[in-house]
């Protein structure tokens, strides 16, 4: 058991896991993810496609072995940190002392004339310990950046928390998309909330490019009637009832009216791509296929738009009867479709907004993990633990030495240079 633990918690094993993770990432970035099985079979050779599907490489980052890999990596990280914790604690409590330093015998000796205190101070050792050793020799000892020994440990802890936060988030997060035009209220499926789009504005720059999309929204708890309002724009999501609301995308919507004998019998707002059934005539449906805000026919005779400004609106529609297409065409602003006794018109074109609503209850955990990783890295790389030691020789001069595992030859150079 102990032997297995030693292997599983070892750095070699960690390197092997990182290697597999690397391979998974390579596969996941090169092979298109999340497509139909038929795609892989037709795009790759039959064998390669079959292998991709069998190994789950069509959705690497969510397949069972990838999840298992993440779990084993977490175990490895946890084990590694548990194994190293006692010795780190011991080192940080008792590891830095003149006695230990002398016993370690690592120091390379440098001779200095004059007082070593100044030298040590100039190298950043401010709290020096003076004393007399068991052998009756006078010494001066200093240590700096002791916290640095915790760097890698903190980094591993942080990684563990990041993976945990991300994994839990993947399991528990919920996401909904709601779209509509100002004035519309839609239910947010399965949450017990309703979302009203109060307003939606597209700010254009003088050159016709978009500066910002901003939606004003209100979320209402249908059980209690309590409601909260906010504004969401790109890069500035609103948080309502603990849910993040993102201004995700936009498109065109229009009001479609059905008239019969000079009387409007039906009116609905459709977003481009949607259709509606004519209630008065079973089987008749009209689809709002596309919108051209500034209609212009292209050179190839296909419908298109000259700009994104709303100055010459036109609508591409399709008409169905019992699922058979009756006709399709482009309709100008003042034009109408006539079928039997019905007249259908498109009017009041406006932008609709698509609001993405998300709740990931574990983002904060991943964020804390990330902060710990950064702290750990800073400790590991920039708080380089170092020790200095001076001992009075019989002739009254001092013999000086210093050691820093992370500082390496650079630290020795620094001591030598300061001495010069």
């Amino acid at each position: 058991m102990k032997k297995i633990a030693r292997i599983v918690f070892s750095m070699k094993f960690a390197l092997a896991l990182l290697g597999i993770l690397l391979a998974a990432c390579l596969a996941g970035s090169v092979i298109p993810q999340g497509k139909e099985a038929s795609y892989y079979l037709s795009e790759y050779s039959e064998q390669a496609g079959g292998a991709i599907l069998a190994l789950g490489l069509d959705d690497v980052f969510h397949c069972a072995w990838f999840v298992l890999l993440a779990v084993v990596l977490c175990l490895n990280l946890t084990g590694c940190n548990i194994v190293h914790f006692p010795s780190l604690l011991e080192r940080s409590r008792n590891g830095f002392s003149p006695e230990r330093y002398k016993r370690s015998g690592r120091a390379k000796e440098l001779s200095v004339s004059g007082s070593p205190e100044e030298l040590f101070e100039s190298c950043g050792f401010h709290r020096l310990v003076r004393g007399t050793g068991g052998d009756g020799k006078e010494y001066i000892y200093g240590v700096k950046n002791r916290a640095g020994i915790w760097g890698a440990w903190l980094c591993h802890l942080g990684m563990l928390i990041v993976i945990l936060g991300f994994g839990l988030g993947q399991m528990k997060q919920v996401s909904f998309a709601v779209y509509g035009v100002p004035g519309q209220t839609k239910t947010v499926e399965g949450t017990g909330y309703e979302l009203t789009i109060d307003d939606f504005a597209v700010d254009l720059r003088p050159d016709d490019t978009v500066e910002q999309y901003t939606a004003s929204i209100t979320m209402r708890d249908t059980a209690t009637g309590e409601s909260r309002s906010g504004q969401t724009s790109v890069n500035h999501p609103a948080t309502l009832f603990g849910m993040r609301c993102y201004q995700n995308s936009t498109g065109w919507a229009a009001t479609v009216q059905v008239w019969k004998e000079d009387r409007m019998i039906q009116e609905e707002v459709l977003c481009a791509g949607e259709y509606m059934n004519v209630e008065d005539k079973e089987g008749l449906a009209v689809m709002f296929a596309a919108f051209y805000p500034d209609y212009a026919e292209g050179e190839d005779g296909m419908p298109g738009t000259a700009s994104s400004k709303l100055q010459n609106p036109a609508y591409l529609y399709r008409l169905y009867y019992r699922n058979e297409i009756l006709g399709m065409n482009v309709l100008g602003a003042k034009e109408a479709i006539t079928v039997d006794a019905y007249t259908i018109i498109f009017t009041d074109s406006q932008n609709y907004t698509l609001i993405q609503i998300k709740r990931d209850p574990f983002t904060w955990l991943a964020a804390i993990g990330a902060a710990i990783v950064m702290t750990g890295l800073f400790f590991a790389f920039y708080l380089r633990t170092a020790e200095v030691y001076a001992e009075r020789k019989e002739d009254g001069s001092w013999s000086v030495s210093g050691y820093s595992r992370k500082g390496g030859p650079e630290f020795e150079d620094q001591l030598k240079q300061s001495q010069a």
Binding site: M11, K12, A14, L15, L18, G19, L21, L22, C25, L26, G28, S29, V30, Q33, F61, F166, S175, R205, D207, T209, V210, E211, Q212, Y213, S233, V234, N235, H236, P237, R244, Y246, N248, Q356, K358, T363, A366, A370, V373, M374, L377, F378, A380, F381, G408, P409, E410
Partner: protein, 276 residues
Amino acid sequence: MSSEQFLNLENVLFTVAMIGYLAAMVLYWLFFVLKKNMVGKGADCFAAAAFLLHTGALVIRGIGAGRLPLSNQYEFATSFAWGICACYLFFLWKYKFRALGAFVTPVIFLVIGYAAMQSREVRELMPALRSHWLAIHVSSAIISYGAFGVSFAVSLMFLIRQGKEDSPFWQEHIPDGKRLDLISYRAVSLGFLFLTFVMISGAIWAERAWGSYWSWDPKETWSLITWIIYAIYLHLRISRGWKGKSAALFAVIGFICVIFTYIGVNTFLPGIHSYA
């Protein structure tokens, strides 16, 4: 000044800086061949002067565009070259290690050459790209990539050095293997710290803009691949017996991944970063 005048001034500074880097590269190589200190010093001067002009070009572009010049392929490429040069000059100052220039300047020249081939048009940004987090994300990427560029050059030297330890020129101008390993490690640590921050700030931006802080988009995945390779480098250095050659090899592979993450992903793989 009109935006056209800004662009013209930037063009002049950029072109002169590019020629400066080319001259520095040639002089560093001559320094290597002729082994004359004067030539090396001249190379340093050219590199520093080119860097100053390059900085000027970036500042002018920033003023002209009214934002940090970090938003399209050209701007990022020129900033990337700038970052490598900044890191190189820092390491030159810190470690007095001039011969490194012979290996770093070609990388700078290649990256700035790539920038020169991109469109320099100043365009307004789409709303998703107007974010402070994005600016922080890209600025840290420049430092990170710059540091990795330096570690790449040092590791190449480490690999080439083997067998030449006895040559007087190498002894005088190129640190011993232990020191090269340490310098490469310092560069990788700086790069790794910043790369971690690049990924974190990118995640924060993605969360605010798209609603998901990590979505395995190819660019994200490739930055993770790069990150893992450098993590392996860090662990290899610690485990006894692997220090030196193998670690150096990983630093070289790591930088190839950096380049691929930056150029290859946009070219070969689709994703939300593709417009960058």
